[in-house]
Symmetry: C2
Subunit: 189 residues, 2 copies
DNA sequence: ACTACTCTTAGTACCTAGTCATATAAAAGA
DNA sequence: TCTTTTATATGACTAGGTACTAAGAGTAGT
């Protein structure tokens, strides 16, 4: 019976990881054991009760929402001279990479660069009109990407921004963004 | 006391909206009324009890996580012919747009196009090497973006993919992606 | 075969954060 | 003052547990 317990516990762990909303009673039925057995299993595995599990998930949700800040810049701005230059830092984490290769997905590097190009514009409205980009080196999880943006030209309602992103002095991404700008406040609301 | 009740209820509503984790007892103390009053208020406002509130938040979190599918394509693939063509749909929602202007942030359109360019490649490893993109029209919330990708050229370990995105026949984004491909399985793990 | 041990099941008392129904007290308006 | 609204109190019940005690079943070692 030794195998059965370990096996049941590992399945229990997976089950609750993918579906934290199951009561002990439902779990007991699923595994054809008593409720007490399920509770002992949870104790041994240090899995909290249903309500605590749900609360944990909910708390994470609230944290995520706060961390997202949908209208903010992707990455953290460490230097900003409007219409001149800007620098932002993005720490690549597991959620940014392809699970198979561990390499950062391109659109995250793009998002960092693009939102920096938006941030650098000293006008209420800034939109990307076009861009030419290049991924020069793969970026892996745990690496820190530093994006440096620079305004390289202005013409009427267009601004050209160059962004270069580095991992420890090494160029990993470069792009030239043509930004459309508009200081007409009525457009922005 | 008419004002007091309405006022308390509207504050209660806001309080629970921003912090759903408060018990009736805590709320009663905060508003200096009895628990029963809080319960009557919740009834009138149709606000569920603490545990239900938490469950609702947690459910949303799980839905969000499932909707994210971090390693999957951004947008929903509706057609895929490997190394030939692919189509995906992305419904622009409030989280994709600038709150001030209501216009979709560029990197979401880029993410849809880029991940489609990755998906079209019939090899275990596909990475974006470079891209030239153009945002031809603003996209607003509630609009549905249909991205169409097409392989336009192959050379050794490079594949050129053209992506055009439309909102109701109207071109909103176009880009040409140069993809690096590798069928060496050892690289992928 | 007997003992030692793990694993499983059962049952009890208690807890939290409520529900529902009913009764009563206090405040405000006519 | 009388009536209505608003607030508080009380008791019975619920889900989904915790914490603890007790006992039976299965297996292994000697």
């Amino acid at each position: 019976m030794k195998r059965r317990k370990k096996e049941r516990q590992s399945i229990l762990q997976e089950t609750l990881a993918s579906n934290p909303f199951m009561t002990d009673e439902e779990l007991a039925k699923r595994f054809s054991v008593s409720i007490q057995t399920i509770r002992l299993d949870r104790m041994e595995l240090a899995i909290p009760e249903l309500r605590e599990r749900i609360k944990d998930v909910a708390k994470q949700q609230l944290d995520d929402v706060r961390a997202l800040q949908p209208d903010e810049v992707i990455g953290e701005i460490v230097d900003l001279q409007l219409d001149e230059r800007a620098i932002s830092i993005l720490d690549i984490q597991s959620e940014h990479v392809f699970t198979r290769s561990g390499i950062a997905r391109g659109h995250h590097l793009f998002a960092q660069a693009n939102s920096l190009a938006v941030a650098i514009i000293d006008d209420p409205l800034a939109l990307t009109q076009s861009a030419t980009i290049r991924f020069t080196r793969q970026v892996k999880a745990e690496e820190r990407v530093i994006a440096k943006a620079r305004v390289i030209g202005n013409e009427l309602d267009r601004t050209h921004v160059e962004v270069e992103s580095f991992v420890e002095q090494e160029l990993v991404f470069s792009g030239e963004f043509v930004m459309y700008r508009n200081n007409d406040v009525s457009v922005t609301k």
